[in-house]
């Protein structure tokens, strides 16, 4: 049940009921969220009315879709994971374009850094929490981190608190990254670089890579994991 998005499957009564239940669960979570720490998660619109209900529904629909993608991704569905990353990258890009007007050259770099963070930290997502809140917290953290490193006044900007801001439209058109990830990838320790190139770029299986490189299969997995962590660290240090 949790593997499927709700919206496309209204054909049976059972699915409809499950959807309603899940929706209430998610809504309840948001509620608890809001009552204790207002700046962590706020629904996009609070005043009642027809227009706001539409916004709220669009927001809920996106939350359900992205959460379903994340749950499938965590179960090992790489296609769902790819779709999630594409969607998130677009929202994150729009969010940063709006927020980094003073540092336009940094936007695509920060989008990439955020995607790496989402990937390396994806085991911290708890299925009981809204995926949008999780993703927004990472995007905001990376933004504040960059502003702080640049010594920008906006780093202390407390208006960065509305999760809906990240999810109000996505920008598919990527800008140019200033920093070259490929050269950072090339600079990784050899075993980490090899594991990543074979599995993640050339698309070989872990077993094939193990046979090609003489590493054990678990060493290949560990080196991919460590390599992407090192890459994220170097990306942050290079900016």
């Amino acid at each position: 049940m949790v593997d499927e998005g709700c919206a496309p499957r209204r054909s049976t009564a059972g699915t409809a009921i499950q959807c309603t239940v899940r929706r209430h669960l998610v809504a309840g979570y948001k509620h608890r969220h809001n009552s204790f720490v207002a700046d962590d998660y706020s629904p996009p619109v609070t005043n009642p009315g027809a227009a706001s209900n539409v916004t709220m529904d669009a927001f809920d629909a996106r939350e359900r879709r992205l959460r379903a993608l994340m749950l499938r991704a965590q179960a090992g569905d790489d296609a769902a994971y790819r779709a999630l990353l594409v969607d998130l990258s677009q929202h994150v890009r729009t969010f940063y374009r709006r927020r980094l007007t003073g540092l336009p050259d940094e936007i695509e770099d920060l989008v990439q850094e955020t995607l790496l963070a989402v990937h390396n930290q994806r085991h911290t997502y708890d299925a009981a929490q809204p995926l949008t809140a999780w993703a927004f917290a990472i995007a905001r953290y990376k933004l504040v981190d960059l502003l702080r490193r640049r010594g920008r006044r906006e780093a202390r900007n407390d208006s960065l608190d509305d999760v809906s801001e990240l999810f109000t439209g996505g920008d598919a058109e990527a800008g140019d990254a200033q920093r070259d990830l490929t050269s950072l990838l090339d600079a990784l320790p050899e075993r980490q670089r090899l594991a990543i190139v074979h599995v993640k770029i050339d698309g070989r299986s872990v077993a094939e890579t193990a046979a090609l490189t003489g590493m054990s299969e678990s060493a290949v997995k560990v080196n991919i994991h460590r390599g992407l962590k090192t890459l994220a660290k170097n990306v942050r240090a290079a900016s």
């Binding site: 990439q112 999780w134 981190d145 991919i224």
Partner: protein, 213 residues
């Protein structure tokens, strides 16, 4: 590298995510921290020679339950603050309730005691060293929880550092129960709590430097 290429790279062969990875990492840190504290206790302080007799009485278990409840609260709070977008919320009561209960017990004991006995309830024989002993015993858990947090994703590094220190301090207090011979609620409510607060404040101060990712 284009962002699309990065997404391809990340998604290709990504595979499943281990279940309960966050909780398991924190539990591993708590286990390592407890083992380290037991070793330190054995080397530095030794075990209370009267432990067997003391453990037959209620106050020993009350003190141990207090420290364990705080350690559990620390773990719970770490498990929330290690994840992006999860607020502390009502979980803060897991830490506050044992504290309030101990302070209530302490206040009752002080009110009932005559003035001559109050100093003994408050200061016992070891108030000067108790907080620092607990802080010392919290060091292994402090290091372990910083290690655990660094592999997770705390977005509020100050508060994440503080709860990591709080959990470590509480584990130190749990282990210190095997050495300490103080059982008065006012003593525990003050000096044990200070011993737990020292690593909490250290975590709060060091968090932004140690937990950045």
């Amino acid at each position: 590298m284009k962002t699309d290429a990065l997404i391809d790279l990340l998604a290709t062969g990504a595979g499943p995510v281990p279940r309960y990875a966050t909780s398991r990492r924190l539990l591993a840190a708590a286990t390592i921290g407890t083992a380290g504290a037991l070793l330190l206790l054995w080397i530095v302080f030794g075990i209370n020679p009267a432990l067997q007799a003391d453990a037959a009485r209620v106050p020993f278990w009350l003190k141990l339950a207090f420290a364990m409840a705080l350690a559990g609260a620390g773990l719970l709070l770490c498990n929330r603050l290690a994840r992006p977008g999860v607020p502390v919320g009502a979980a803060i009561w897991a830490a506050l309730l044992p504290l309030l209960a101990m302070w209530l017990l302490g206040a009752m004991a002080l009110i009932e005691a005559d003035s001559a006995a109050r100093a003994q309830l408050l200061f016992g024989a070891s108030w000067r060293v108790c907080p620092f002993n607990i802080t010392l015993l919290s060091l292994p858990a402090f290091a372990a929880s910083v290690w655990a947090m660094r592999g997770l994703a705390p977005t509020d590094t100050r508060r994440a550092g503080a709860v990591a220190g709080f959990g470590a301090g509480s584990l130190g207090a749990v282990v210190y129960c095997l050495h300490c011979t103080e059982y008065a609620a006012p003593f525990i409510g003050i000096w044990y709590v200070i011993g737990i607060l020292i690593p909490s404040v250290a975590g709060f101060v060091l968090g932004p430097r140690l937990l950045r990712w």
